[in-house]
């Protein structure tokens, strides 16, 4: 199936005048899919679930779980109210697609929320957005307000008999709240520590009621699926990773930014579109899906960026957060900083993450300063083995990814710190303003 290299759908209206307003959104056909979905001829909630299943949409928040299947887990014979929760807590380092989406076109998300809530028969939806993005929250609040005024939210939406209330809920700074059960805890007004599963959120989620939690991009994709059809969506992407996704390029490329493309595009293609690595430099290492995904190198430029391809390369597609680092970047410095991030964000519930990240940082910091010895590398790997898969949630697993993959591909660079008695790299050389000469 040959589609264009870039396929703007979610980003398609970001260059429209005042794209965040209802007027602009509806002027381009927005909320048409909602009317279709809620209308008498589409086939009702079950038809919507089926359409999403048929589209092959997989969760865009990193895990890639088939969205329609997740919706299908909601037990409709359960007497408790159902809830839709949008995970807008985008905090995975390198990930920057949901924030601009909600900033530029919150109505895309909102229309998706309405259709998705209708599909799972929820009358309450919550958008849990991280608190550190004030203007995004303003735009979301405004969009919800406009939607109520236009009758897209509230009681008996457009005579469909369907009621829906949406609450925009600001978080308060915790990466762990991107984990769905920790998010539910935060949404319930508690410390954001993950919950035991089972029971799964589909059966007992928010307020111990059946709940679907989906990423912003997943929900935002729903209107286009309903509007254009499941087959249209499935015509993009690869066999097992259907559809389009927003690929976020950052770091040492000439044009960092958002590139919306069918799943399966390669990094080589993306870097090419982004104007290449910055002048005079070459690619050294990169993350396919944020810091929690193992690093990849120049070896992997032609790996199709879909779930299977990246998995086969020993990493994970994650959130398509492509952080690109050239040869001026010290891998050890990068990994140490990510490890400090995980230590800072560890919720503290389980031993291996809480104590493990504390220890990993100290070991790495010593190595970065040129202290310690080569056997520390093996100790680091052993610590990672004792953490990976042994913790309560995947945060700790993510913490081990940069360490184990960097030692795999750049062991010599670690050793160079030891022989050099410190970092042999010049930290100013990697800065964005290094070449322009902006002073430090």
């Amino acid at each position: 199936m040959k589609t264009d290299t870039l396929t703007p759908v979610l980003t398609d209206n970001w260059d429209a005048e005042r794209s965040w307003t209802l007027a602009s959104y509806e002027g381009r056909g927005g909320y048409g899919a909602m009317r279709t979905a809620l209308g008498p001829d589409f086939g009702g909630p079950d038809a919507i679930v089926q359409a999403v299943k048929d589209s092959g949409l997989r969760g865009r928040g990193g895990a890639g779980f088939p969205t329609g299947m997740k919706w299908g887990f909601i037990p409709q014979d359960n007497p408790k109210p159902k809830y839709l929760v949008v995970n807008a807590d985008e905090s995975e380092p390198g990930t920057c697609k949901d924030i601009p989406l909600m900033m530029a076109s919150p109505h895309t998300l909102l229309e998706g929320v309405i259709i998705s809530s209708f599909a799972i028969r929820a009358n309450h939806a919550f958008i849990y957005v991280r608190g550190e993005v004030l203007h995004v929250i303003r735009r979301l609040q405004r969009a919800v307000q406009e939607a109520y005024l236009a009758g897209h939210l509230g009681k008996d939406i457009h005579g469909s008999g369907y009621d829906l209330d949406v609450v925009v809920h600001a978080g308060a700074g915790a990466y762990i709240c991107g984990e769905e059960t920790a998010l539910l805890e935060g949404l319930e007004g508690r410390r954001g520590q993950p919950r035991l599963r089972p029971p799964f959120p589909a059966v007992a989620g928010l307020y111990a009621s059946p709940t679907v939690i989906n990423n912003v991009e997943s929900i935002a994709s729903v209107p286009s699926i309903i509007g254009n059809g499941a087959e249209w969506f499935a015509s993009m992407g690869t066999e097992k990773s259907k559809g389009f996704g927003i690929f976020s390029l950052s770091g040492h490329v000439v044009r960092p930014g958002q590139y919306e493309a069918p799943l399966g595009i390669t990094l080589r293609q993306l870097i090419d579109l982004a104007g290449g690595i910055r002048e005079g430099h070459e690619l050294k290492f990169w993350t396919p899906g944020g810091s929690s995904t193992p690093l990849l190198t120049t070896e992997h430029l032609d790996v199709p960026l879909d779930f299977e391809g990246v998995g086969a390369a020993g990493s994970m597609l994650g959130t398509r957060a492509l952080q690109i680092f050239d040869e001026t970047t010290c891998v050890v410095r990068a990994v140490l900083r990510w490890t400090e991030f995980y230590k800072h964000e560890s919720c503290g519930k389980c031993t291996p993450c809480r104590e493990g990240t504390w220890w990993l940082v100290q070991t790495l910091a010593r190595l970065e300063k040129g202290e310690g010895q080569e056997s520390d590398l093996d100790m680091l790997l052993d610590q990672c083995e004792n953490i990976m898969g042994r913790s309560f949630c995947a945060l700790a697993d993510g913490a081990t990814s940069p360490i184990s993959s960097s030692i795999k591909y750049f062991r010599d660079e670690y050793l160079a710190h030891l022989t050099h008695g410190g970092c042999p790299f010049d930290p100013t050389a990697s800065t964005a303003f290094a070449q322009t000469g902006a002073s430090a």
């Binding site: 104590e355 504390w358 100290q362």
Partner: protein, 798 residues
Amino acid sequence: MTTTPAKIDTVTLTIDGVEVSVPKDTLVIRAAEQVGVQIPRFCDHPLLAPVGACRQCLVDIPDAGNGKPIPKPQASCTITVAEGMVVSTQATSPVADKAQQGIMEFLLVNHPLDCPVCDKGGECPLQNQAMSNGRGETRFDGVKRTFPKPINISPQVLLDRERCIVCQRCTRFADEIAGDPFIALVERGAQQQIGIADGAPFLSYFSGNTIQICPVGALTSAEYRFRSRPFDLVSTPSVAEHDSCGAAIRVDHRRGKVMRRLAGNDPEVNEEWISDKDRFAFQYSRQDDRLTHPMVREDGELRPASWPEAFAVAARGLHAAGSAAVLTGGRVTAEDAYAYAKFARVSLGTHDIDFRARPHTAEEADFLASRVALSMDVTYDDLERASVVVLAGLEPEDEAATIFLRLRKASKGSTKVVALAPFTTRGLGKMKGRLVPTAPGEEAEALRALAEDATTALDSGGVILVGERLAQHHGALTAAVELARTTGARLAWVPRRAGDRGAVEAGCLPTLLPGGRPVGDASARVDAATAWGIDHLPDAPGRDGNAIIAALADGSLGGVVVGGVDPDDTADPAATRAALEAASFVVSLEQRETDVTRLADVVLPIAPVTDKAGTFVTWEGRPRPFDAVFSNPGSLPDLRVLAGIADELAALGQGSSLGFRTVPEVRAEMEAMGPWDGVRPEPVLGKEPRKPRAKAGALVLAGWKQLLDQGSMQDGDPHLAATRRPAVALVSPTTLAGLDGAVDVVLTGDRGSVTVPVEAAADMVDGVVWLPTHSVGRGVLADLASPGSTVTVKGAGK
């Protein structure tokens, strides 16, 4: 009582190659224990919901029961068994073993090397499991995170935050079991710690349990800190002596001194929890005022005497007094109570005996004789299974803490708790209970109304618990009995003291002989007399406590033998004191110097519970025998002292020997005498006593003793005392509004005035003021008002 066990579904799985069948929904970690495999753990606790936080209990599951392995090691405390599951623990799986060792190494990364100065050393699950499931050396040589230590999270509980491994047992207990979420996890990551809110210490009646279940030395007792090492201590199981719940405790002692008490494990009674009073209130017998030798009064002054002399003087005095009565108090063991009951009849020839050292009535005596003696209708487990539990005259959190915990547990299931009380107490709220607003004096009517109340829907699946306070309101106990009869609900009486129920069984009532034998029944009298080897027993009932006091005062009674009785607990403290003064001869059996010993003619020191074997009977009717903790031959139980006096009286020609000197001998005699299987009398409700006229604007006084107050058995532990709830008068919002912003009130009743802070309870019945009865001064009965009377309220202080 036997029940056929319900059929339970079982699941069969294989653990380390051993097949085992366990009930469905069993956790893998429990199932492993069945085959003798101890998987190391910290956050897991059988009575708390699983969290899977510490990750120490990781096991390998090569087959989840569906033919497929689970790829990652799993926390066995969160996995329930599945048919055909195959589990490999550290015993057979190198992966599980390495995973566990890894976790142990992580736990010791930030854990301080405090063992030499840590109370938990020697009984520490972290130490033990580090030895059994950890490596010998750590590879961590970095910097540990530190906190200033220790800090008080309550006057009683100290926290060393560095030691905490964040297993959350304490916060889960406080929240799930006690309903007191005053400790919580604060901060994040490696800085995560247990904390309290500013100015809101961990004041929970059950805080001490967190010290016991903490798997490291993070939570320690302020009273016990640095006092001893567990390997110095001898543990003796015993029974808590502070209420009628019969909680199992463990007494840890060293060289003749009790160092601390822990909860014992008794799933049928207190599970693994005890109140702070049960845990910490044991210093009373070591106070300076402890009596160590007998004393007799000579020329107006008490002087030391030997036991033989004291016995002789006591006997002579009682004999000379002509007639004498017995007030036992409620602190007695069943065996001691039996001895008092027999002494009264055999040595003094009287039925003038009463164990009730608090306000009481004839209606209550009838109730006890007809409905309580020999009954075992309700158990703790019944509370959990009941559809409804009605509380009348009983506030479990203050008055029967073990019942409270069980009711709270039950209320999380389908059991509904309904309380007849003047307001919703904290305890009732924690049980999600419903209040039937009842002012003191309205209990009888409220109970009658419950029969028709559709919301309560009381039927044979329900239970009615009545407290001893109900006796103060005419007709209430009778109404409770009637309510049970019409609805089919089961009724149980919950007294306050450990010995109260046993005293009923032992016949310490003017209308009741041992084993439920009614004094009014001729064949019962003959039966008892025969068992005791005496000719006959008086056929008229004796005087109850009130009548004994009155008779001592007016001279119709000459002598009295008094056990553990505090005049300030009685219906009229001044009258009690005057009566004892007026009596011609007073023999006091006591542990410590009191107002009674100070005016007694003979003072005979008796053993505290640590020094004697005995039995307490719980409110259920369940006997709770215990052995002596210490061997102190000079410390005599009441029964031995009474036997000594009886022998001397017999030598004077009055009565005969009691025929026993030791606890085993008494037990054997009680067993031989056995329970009465004859007819029990129907209670007769007498005329309602005249109520004193209420002054205009007066409020009806309600109250009970809080769990922690000025009770003498709580003496000696200032840390415990500092956790008492403050003494505050509670009124309705309307009444408070009428006080114009006053922060204190002066309450004036027919016995005096007290000044206390005042607050409103949101649903307090208008016209009622509630005050804890023994938290201020000498208590409400002594300082303020007669039982069931009213007080006037005046604001004071702004």
